[in-house]
């Protein structure tokens, strides 16, 4: 049984067929990228996995679990965490608070023990803090711990998004255009981090990305989409040379008659 399986996903918004019969499988521990021109439906697929949208037809499975039965807030519970294209951070809080909120899924304490700050709740708090600090160490956010999100630069905000997703301790990490808006140096750092996440932490990564060099560097396999339809799946080299993929991105050559 594959680690993550998407079968015949279909979703339409009114007359727009956003996702048409897309199927793919992700193996445990691999880095799987989804590429395609804008409007191809890549983020829609993510939103389907996160259960922000309901499928018209098709299914999503993480191991044995059918994602279609879950509500949006249960998705993190089964071990899926995601980042957003335009960062969705908690603007009025510090980086530390944002990351601590990321630990929410692993909470064992109830309202009562938290109100009274019972030893169990306290111990959990300290464990969460340890988790957060480990993640901060991994992505080098030490300098920004107590800073409010509003004062951070774009590159740092993206890293906080990823760090927050890591605090969930996910099995599957969804990265939505992690490199958009980053300069080449930051993208380089990002590629190292994705490698670390995949190899050291053993997290399976599903990534939507436009930056081809990043995709080639870190991905095991790539899926190309265009206008809601799947074009091809293969390793980065194959996909980049695939004629339909080139056509989707670059358009048809006028000479091709």
């Amino acid at each position: 049984m594959s680690f993550f399986r998407a079968s015949n996903l279909c979703l339409s918004f009114g007359g727009i067929r956003a996702v048409q019969d897309v199927s793919f499988e992700v193996e445990k521990g691999e880095v799987f990228s989804i590429i395609g021109p804008n409007g191809a439906g890549k983020t829609t697929v993510f939103n389907l996995i996160s259960r922000f949208y309901d499928l018209d037809s098709g299914s999503l499975h993480l191991g044995e679990t059918d994602l279609g039965k879950l509500q949006a807030h249960d998705v993190a519970n089964v071990g899926i965490a995601r980042t957003f294209q335009n960062t969705e951070l908690f603007e009025h809080e510090t980086v530390l608070q944002n990351l601590l909120i990321g630990c929410h899924v692993n909470r064992r304490s109830g309202l009562f023990s938290e109100l009274l700050h019972l030893p169990g709740a306290r111990k959990q708090e300290l464990e969460f803090r340890q988790t957060v600090e480990d993640v901060i160490d991994l992505v080098d956010l030490q300098a920004y711990r107590y800073q409010s999100i509003g004062s951070l630069s774009y590159g740092v905000r993206k890293m906080v998004e990823i760090a927050r997703a890591l605090c969930v301790k996910p099995r599957l990490l969804l990265l939505d255009e992690p490199a958009s808006g980053l300069n080449p140096e930051e993208t380089d750092d990002l590629s190292f981090w994705i490698e670390d996440i995949s190899q050291d932490l053993g997290i399976t990564v599903l990534m939507v990305e436009h930056d081809m060099s990043l995709v080639s560097r870190v991905s095991n396999r790539v899926l190309a989409m265009s206008e809601g339809k799947l074009i091809t799946i293969g390793n980065p080299g194959e996909v980049q040379r695939h004629p339909e993929v080139l056509e989707a991105y670059l358009g048809q050559s006028e000479d091709a008659a």
Binding site: T43, N47, F84, Q85, N86, E88
Partner: protein
């Protein structure tokens, strides 16, 4: 029996138009500036008092006084926008709401200081006359309210649909920075919107004065009009009028068929029922955020 129903319907429509006018002012400001003006009722109250000043204190002829009132209130609307609301642009909506709540209190106190808290009434050329349809009685004031509302709505519709300002208003409300970039003088648009809303409030004040007494507490009708605006869906201008009519008519029927006290709360019960069924009002304009 039917004449009873007819009477209720007539009173309800008349009252509903008043709610609708105040609600229209709310929705206009909200559509254009994304701010909620909780002081709209107080603007209406001020309009009524200003009309009183022109008509009864200065003894101007009716139509001149009406024009003068509308003009004065338009200027006042611009002043409020310039002095208070402009600084609230970009702040969370809650802040603007609280600001206008404070403004409402302030205006009430100021009105009490200037005109005193004794109830007044204004003299209108159509006051006192009645018109009957069968057993139902319709005061000229009520007819004036309905006609006034209809004319105002028509003018507003034409203005928003066929002038560039109307489109500019919508642009400025959806994305201010982008509006600036395409050359829309956003601040001037906002001032204009407040002026128009104040003018609508002035008309509402003039229309309501003959049917209800004018005192600083008149603004409280704004709370019910607010409920009416929400029922209609807060971003829709026709929705505001329709919401007002629904509330106005329902109130009259509740007053007759239900125990006393229920009439007052019927507006709010309707509100809650509508919101449970459709959380964004009947004709809402909300869209889902794309992430």
């Amino acid at each position: 029996m039917t004449s009873e129903i007819l009477q209720l319907l007539i009173s309800g429509i008349s009252q509903g138009c008043l709610y609708g006018l105040v609600a229209l002012g709310f929705v206009l400001i909200y559509k254009a500036t994304e701010m909620v003006n909780f002081a709209q009722g107080e603007l209406m109250m001020l309009g009524a008092f200003v009309a009183y000043t022109f008509l009864d204190i200065l003894q101007w002829p009716f139509y001149w006084a009406v024009l003068a009132t509308i003009f004065v209130m338009a200027v006042f609307g611009v002043v409020i926008e310039r002095v208070f609301m402009r600084r609230m642009i970009g702040e969370p909506p809650f802040a603007a709401l609280m600001l206008t709540i404070g403004l409402g209190f302030l205006l009430r106190a100021v009105a009490g200081a200037i005109w005193g808290s004794d109830p007044r009434s204004i003299t209108t050329p159509y006051g006192g006359g009645i018109f009957s349809i069968g057993d139902a009685v319709l005061g000229y004031e009520n007819i004036a309210i309905v006609i006034g509302t209809a004319i105002l709505c028509l003018l507003l519709y034409l203005f928003l649909r066929y002038t560039r300002v109307g489109i500019a208003m919508q642009a400025a409300s959806q994305n201010q920075l982008a509006a600036y970039y395409v050359g829309i003088p956003v601040k001037r648009v906002f001032s204009l919107v407040w002026a128009i809303s104040a003018m609508i409030a002035a008309v509402a004040g003039i229309l309501i004065a003959p049917v209800s007494l004018v005192d600083p507490q008149l603004g409280f009708i704004g709370v019910k009009a607010f409920a009416a605006a929400i029922v209609g869906g807060f971003g829709s201008l026709p929705g505001a009028i329709i919401g007002g009519l629904i509330v106005g008519v329902a109130e009259q029927f509740a007053g007759l068929y239900l125990p006393p006290g229920f009439a007052d709360t019927s507006a709010y019960v309707i509100l809650l029922l509508v919101l449970i069924a459709r959380p964004e009002g009947l004709f809402s304009t909300m869209q889902k955020k794309k992430v």
